[in-house]
């Protein structure tokens, strides 16, 4: 399988060039970290621009509207205009807020989301950190974000913020379980928590096809639970506009608000990327059994495009949820998790174990 161009080749060239230039291993490591960090920040900002534009357009089309279509071609520059507006706004801190906590919370949110992007495989051999507990790392680190939300809500000294933060806490703590169990059901099949191993195990078919019914159920549960985890509609009780003005970020303005927005979009990307990696084969091209001609054509599409395509497919599904379903009440939200998703995902793990033991997963 030879690809015309690849991101892993680029990263290899940069590394060898830096080694020749600096010589010292420590200096190479530090400069690489700086480069990776800058690239990541740039990528995430660009990504959230794209997602912001995509969300508005998708929402508009689903509601028989047009969405932003005036600034720039087809309204693509609207999000730039909005960012400039946010940059010029005053970063107001309320008088009675806990100032330190209030200003710290957005950074905690953004740091958490940036940390979670580390083990994601963006393309073939192109990962920031391929650690051996990748899936576990993602689910562990992503739950730190609830601390950021609670911190933001509580330090604002505002009843709406506090209510939103508390709801968000209840929600994330409950839905974490279903996410964990649906991740485990794929880990049962692969026998490894390392993201690259999980992707490589899908070389002859994605888990959603190879894993039979349990994988499909796990995929649906993962999508539903992760929608709740990132506080998106229909599970957006934490920021329910109609009840709590804006929930935990009511009091934030300017760039601090923009950080919450950025982390929200990056979280959306992360859960979609995780779903794409675990169930839809990550950067693996789509192959059908023995159709070598078809498979060869698929191999010519760069692995990064495969990854982004699958991720954006999942993002589109989550956006489709958001603009179709009405918001759940708090008791309905907890009912859905504890009475339906959790028992079903527990049974599903048992079923998946059966599939793995009988060796049906190929």
């Amino acid at each position: 399988m030879t690809l015309l161009y690849s991101l892993s080749g680029l990263s290899y060239h940069i590394q060898s060039w830096l080694t020749r230039l600096l010589g010292n291993t420590m200096a190479v490591l530090v400069s690489e970290m700086v480069i990776v960090g800058l690239c990541l920040i740039g990528f995430l900002v660009l990504l959230s621009f794209t997602l912001g534009y995509m969300e508005r357009r998708v929402a508009a089309f689903m509601q028989l509207r047009l969405g932003p279509n005036r600034v720039g071609p087809k309204g693509t520059l609207q999000i730039i205009a909005d960012t400039i507006k946010l940059l010029f706004k005053e970063g107001l801190t309320p008088t009675n807020a806990d100032k330190f906590m209030f200003n710290l919370a957005p950074y905690i949110m953004i740091i958490t989301t940036m940390l979670v992007t580390a083990p994601l495989a963006f393309a073939r051999n192109f990962q920031i950190w391929d650690l051996n507990i990748g899936v576990f790392y993602v689910s562990a680190v992503s739950s730190i974000s609830v601390i950021g939300i609670l911190m933001a809500g509580w330090s604002s000294n505002n009843k709406y913020s506090l209510l939103g933060a508390m709801r968000s806490g209840a929600q994330i703590v409950s839905y974490e379980l279903s996410i964990g169990l649906s991740l485990i059901s794929i880990v049962i099949l692969t026998g490894s928590l390392r993201i690259s191993d999980i992707v490589m195990s899908q070389q002859n078919g994605w888990w959603i096809f190879k894993g039979h019914l349990p994988a499909l159920i796990a995929f649906v549960i993962f999508i539903v639970a992760s929608t709740a985890e990132i506080n998106r509609a229909p599970f957006d009780l934490a920021e329910a506009e109609q009840e709590l003005t804006a929930g935990f970020h009511t009091e934030y303005a300017g760039m601090k608000f923009a950080m919450f927005l950025l982390s929200e979009y990056v979280n959306l990307f992360i859960v979609s990327a995780l779903a794409a990696t675990l169930f839809l084969g990550g950067w693996m091209p789509f192959h059908i059994g023995s159709w070598s001609g078809f498979n060869h054509v698929m191999d010519f599409i760069p692995s990064s495009l495969w990854f982004m395509g699958k991720t954006f497919f999942v993002i589109f599904i989550i956006m489709w949820f958001r603009w179709t379903f009405p918001r759940l009440r708090v008791d309905q939200l907890l009912n859905l998790e504890w009475k339906y998703l959790l028992p079903i995902s527990m049974l599903n793990v048992l079923l998946m174990t059966l599939v793995a033991l009988l060796g049906w997963h190929g």
């Binding site: 998708v58 508009a60 089309f61 689903m62 509601q63 028989l64 509207r65 047009l66 279509n69 489709w320 949820f321 603009w323 179709t324 379903f325 339906y340």
Partner: protein
Amino acid sequence: MFITEYFKTIFRSVKSLLTGMRLTGYYFTHPSKTLTQEYPDNRKELKLADRFRGEVVMPHTEANEHRCTGCQACELACPNGTIKIITKQEILPDGKKKKRLDTMIYNLSMCTFCNLCIVACPSDAITMSQDFEHSVLDRSKLRKILNKPDSKLMEGVE
């Protein structure tokens, strides 16, 4: 039984969610269904709903005839005092005196487009037009006289 009810609930809710997603998916894949009108750009081919109420007008025929008998039902029906009807005495060819419409004053700045005058009119003399671009620089221009100069009552309308 409890367990069958449990699975029935799941089935029903998944079905209803998929029904909703099918509708929004249909809208997403059919951009021609979009209701938004890019107004100043599409002034020529602007599509308005039939029930849209722009302003009260009095249709006249080519012979400059209207259907208003001057009965003042619209003036009484109007909650804001938007309509003012001035009548005159007209002597018919057979020598009888008859009340006829002289001027119908319609004050657009006070109109709430409630349609009550059109409902009240017994002879269908006034209707709502689709014209909505009413902004003017002088308030007095909003005070309109609906009957055209020298217009007459249509034959046969009493």
